[in-house]
């Protein structure tokens, strides 16, 4: 047990990879066995991640926990350094929850090259988990790139009619960003020894040798010259903004989503996009505080554009999946808006909203996938009145629609509300723009629901549709439970986030809490 506890992150991250290697030994004709095996591996993967949530020490949530730091490629100073704080804990849990659901949803959707498909899904899962646990920039970059390969094949082999275009676009676009990201990492790598040599307190903790250690970079953040912060921020920005995706780097997303098979879209929306926002949180903000502050107006501007722009474009989409894809652009705008408000409310909301987006958009893609499997079309005009024949489906769809538009009692409300509070503390107009985005969000989602689910059945092809089966329900019920959990009692989530978020705010704005205390004192005792 102790061994498990000490190595839990490695075990959780590499478990899917181990399952993948065993899977590769199976006979490819035995599809049932392959499906069972992949599902079991994923579910076990989720189960072994639960101790992370249980054992995680909330009182030191801003410290890295379950840390392992082993020399790896000593010549260049790269280590196998893993560990999680409250922020990465939530994203790891999101990944281990969504992975099994995505795999389960593929049971009947995938018929060709079943073995290869599950191999790639398991590889993808390992890559994503690796990204969220890495504390070494080199290790991080390896996982960040590795995860492109399975996704490329999942879109390119099992995708829709334009799959090759979408797959190559996804791959090249992300790779383009990654290369700039790598340049930023190298810049940090080469300047670190100089800075560490000048500042004994850093050298004492992390040494003066070349390193890729993220914590070491964070320690020298305040000594990093502004010119470096400026350019490295821009390099990181391109890398992460493409992944989020932020306007105007978002056009790969609708193509990738529309062409990818359902499970691919689910993973893409629920987890992959979070890697971009996680990158900002883990690297840009704490390592480049001055660069971050300098670019706040730029980042907020792009976020607000994304919110409004994504919502308006989503409203006019004739394809359900494309609508949900553009709604992702809008929702991720909320996430980045909260993040770059750079105060505790904004950041808390931003992270909670990342989880929420994973839950509700992941569920919406599953929902679209269910109807696509039955009708082989996603065109909104083809549907209407489905609630008459698929009542259970209609209920689940409604819950997730309401969750997506941020209705109280469901998760989206908590995230959007906290983000708007954070935005309001910085600037009234940011909050006004976000509010407009919420109204538009309600418009396009409810309109979608109305056009597909309500009214009478006009299209005879829809008359014989069968409601969800047990397996499909099983993919959605966990998401509904989490949606209500966050909506009704988000305290456990905020408890995990409070400390790391305050720590993050302190790193970017060292005087923030002094200012806040002064302000509070003034409110209590007016002059």
């Amino acid at each position: 047990m102790d061994y498990f506890r000490e190595h839990i992150l490695t075990i959780v991250a590499f478990w899917p990879l181990a399952g993948m290697i065993v899977l590769m030994l199976f006979n490819k004709e035995n599809k049932t066995l392959i499906r069972w095996w992949a599902n079991v591996v994923m579910i076990v993967g989720f189960v072994i991640s639960i101790p992370l949530w249980v054992w995680f020490d909330r009182d030191t949530a801003d410290q890295m926990q379950f840390v392992q730091n082993i020399p790896w490629i000593q010549t260049i100073g790269a280590n196998y350094h893993v560990g999680i704080d409250g922020i990465s804990l939530l994203l790891v849990m999101l990944t281990t929850l969504l992975g099994p659901l995505a795999v389960l949803s593929s049971w009947e959707a995938i018929h060709d090259r079943v073995k290869e498909y599950y191999v790639f899904m398991l590889m993808l899962q390992a890559g994503m988990l690796g990204v969220f646990v890495s504390l070494d920039f080199f290790l991080f970059y390896v996982f960040w790139e590795v995860m492109l390969v399975p996704m490329y094949f999942i879109i390119g082999v099992w995708g829709g009619p334009r799959k090759l275009y979408a797959a190559i676009k996804f791959f090249l676009y992300t790779l383009f960003g990654s290369v700039l990201l790598l340049l930023g990492i190298l810049a940090l790598y080469f300047i670190y020894p100089n800075l560490a040599a000048q500042h004994p307190e850093v050298a004492g903790r992390f040494g003066t040798g070349s390193t890729f250690d993220v914590l070491a970079f964070q320690a020298v953040a305040s000594y990093l010259p502004f010119a470096y912060q400026y350019w490295i921020f821009l390099a990181f920005f391109v890398g992460f903004a493409i992944k989020v995706p932020m306007f105007p780097f978002h056009t790969w997303l609708p193509d990738a989503h529309v062409e990818a098979p359902t499970a691919g879209s689910v993973i893409l929306a629920a987890v992959l996009l979070k890697m971009g926002t996680y990158g900002f949180l883990r690297f840009s903000l704490p390592i480049l505080p001055d660069g971050t502050k300098y670019f706040v107006p730029f980042m907020i501007g792009l976020s607000i554009i994304a919110i409004i722009y994504g919502a308006l474009v989503a409203m006019m989409q004739p394809d359900m999946k494309k609508l949900v894809a553009y709604s992702s652009v809008s929702h991720m705008g909320f996430v980045t808006l909260g993040m770059f408000a750079l105060n505790p409310n904004g950041l808390n909301g931003s992270i909670i909203q990342q989880i929420n987006h994973g839950i509700s958009t992941g569920a919406l893609f599953l929902i679209v996938g269910i109807i696509y499997e039955r009708r082989h079309t996603r065109e909104i005009a083809q549907f209407g009145g489905l609630s008459n024949v698929m009542p259970m489906y209609a209920v689940v769809f409604l819950i997730m629609t309401l969750s997506s538009i941020g209705l109280p009692v469901l998760n989206g409300f908590i995230g959007e509300f906290t983000i708007i509070m954070g935005a309001l503390q910085q600037n009234l107009w940011w909050a006004v723009a976000a509010g407009a985005g919420i109204v538009l969000g309600a418009a396009y989602m409810l309109w979608l629901y109305q056009r597909t689910m309500l009214g009478k059945i006009e299209n005879p092809a829809n008359e014989k549709l069968i409601d969800m089966n047990l397996r499909e329900l099983a993919t959605l019920v966990p998401l509904i439970i989490v949606a209500f959990w966050i909506g009704l009692y988000p305290a456990p989530f905020f408890r995990v986030l409070d400390k790391p978020v305050n720590n993050l705010v302190l790193k970017v704005r060292p005087d923030y809490f002094q200012g806040a205390q002064r302000l509070n004192a003034e409110i209590r005792e007016p002059r």
């Binding site: 676009k169 308006l312 418009a443």
Partner: protein, 423 residues
């Protein structure tokens, strides 16, 4: 209004639409600190009351008349809040709940009796066929029209009086409110006369099946009718010898803030009674007009259209507010969506695909360069040397016979030269 009738009754009477009134009353401490904001509330309330009532004058759907009546009555409530009479606003909210729920459920009973017919143009002369529905709705109509000593009278009178007498009040606000009282009486009695009086316009097939609703529907009507009569007595006003119990009950909630508003003007009970009498008289005029136009003579579409002239389509189409919103906001948002979608596909994605295209074209170009220029020079040099060396190649064929031939030819030339050339 499009919802099932019991839902309409619930929404209109007590819960959803009145939440705004509750909200403003609850936030009275904020509003009291912003007199301008209160004036805005009062004016919007009075204007809403007036416009909604004018829409109600010509609607033909029985539920739609009631829906606009609700909007109009909500205007009254906001007028009360705006002039600082928070208790009066809440009082009207309470009394209105009784008679509006009654009227909606009554209309539901009518619709039920007529097999889902909501159009008053296809009703008439139902008075004796569904008597319980008729009498209860009649009571509700009397109450909403402000008949003295029924529920609506007390609360409406309180609002109108405060609209005039309070510090934030104004004679114009009172006039608008009083006009609305007349219009309310008019459109409500129009509803009663068109539905229950005159000649029957029900189609023959339905005519045979008209029946009073079951007890599960009539008993609530009766209970609400009793409420519509007595609910106002909790706020029996001082000028009639009462003690304004309702207002006193709410006093702790609506305690005025310690902000100078100036002394309230003093008016005698007589003035209040006079104003009440005036509003009742105006309501009576409304009733009289409705009686002469819809009861003495049965309803006729043409006459009704003529009577409003060019205003008729404006009222009927609700001042084209929906169309205006569609034009200003809905369609503009859709246009923006479509436009941005095109922008996304052409400009943003165009830039992405453009860079990909540029890369591919660049690659093709450099391929061409490589093939024709770089490789061309190499090949040219090779070819040049090859061409130039052609004559040399001829003597290096590698065939022994050629060499032998050349040797023999050379020998012959040499011999010939020796034999003849030197002579």
């Amino acid at each position: 209004m499009e919802g099932p009738t019991p839902v309409s009754a619930l929404i209109h009477a007590a819960t959803m639409v009145t939440a705004g009134v509750y909200m403003v009353a609850r936030s009275n401490f904020i509003y009291q600190m912003a007199p301008q904001a209160m004036t805005v509330v009062a004016v919007i309330g009075a204007v809403t009351a007036f416009f909604a009532a004018s829409i109600g004058l010509v609607q033909n759907d029985i539920k739609r008349v009631l829906a606009y009546s609700t909007v109009s009555q909500l205007g009254y409530m906001f007028l009360a809040l705006g002039v600082g009479a928070f208790a009066a606003g809440i009082f009207h909210l309470m009394t209105h709940a009784f008679f509006k729920a009654l009227l909606f459920l009554g209309s539901g009973s009518v619709i039920h009796a007529l097999h889902h017919e909501q159009d008053m143009r296809k009703m008439g002369a139902l008075k004796n066929k569904i008597p319980v529905t008729f009498w209860t709705m009649f009571v509700g109509t009397l109450a909403i029209a402000g008949t003295p000593f029924l529920a609506g009278f007390f609360s409406k009178d309180e609002i109108l009086w405060k609209a005039f007498s309070s510090n934030q009040g104004h004679l114009l606000l009172w006039l608008l409110g009083a006009a609305v009282a007349g219009m309310t009486a008019f459109y409500m009695f129009r509803l009663i006369f068109m539905t229950f009086f005159g000649q029957s316009r029900v189609d023959h097939h339905t005519e045979h099946h008209i029946h009073e609703s079951p007890r599960s529907m009539t008993v609530p009507l009766i209970i609400l009718a009793i409420g519509s009569v007595v609910a106002g007595y909790v706020g029996f006003p001082a000028w009639l010898g009462g003690n304004n119990a309702f207002e006193k009950f709410l006093d702790p909630v609506f305690e005025p803030l310690p902000i100078p508003h100036g002394p309230e003007a003093e008016y005698s009970h007589l003035a209040e009674a006079g104003m009440a009498a005036a509003s009742v008289a105006i309501a009576l005029i409304g009733f009289g007009l409705a009686y002469s136009k819809y009861c003495k003579r049965s309803w006729e579409q043409q006459r009704e259209i003529r009577q409003y002239g060019s205003l008729y389509p404006v009222f009927l189409n609700k001042y084209y507010v929906d169309e205006g919103y569609d034009f200003l906001f809905v369609n503009r948002a859709k246009d923006a969506g479509t436009g941005l979608w095109k922008f996304d596909a052409v400009v943003v994605d165009g830039a992405v695909n453009g860079s990909a295209w540029t890369t591919v074209e660049g690659a093709l170009g450099s391929g061409w360069w490589d093939r024709w220029v770089v490789d061309g020079i190499v090949k040219f040099i090779g070819g040049f040397i090859r061409t130039m060396s052609w004559p040399l190649r001829l003597i290096q064929t590698g065939y022994v016979q050629n060499y032998a031939l050349v040797m023999i030819l050379g020998l012959l030339i040499f011999i010939g030269y020796v034999l003849w050339g030197t002579s």
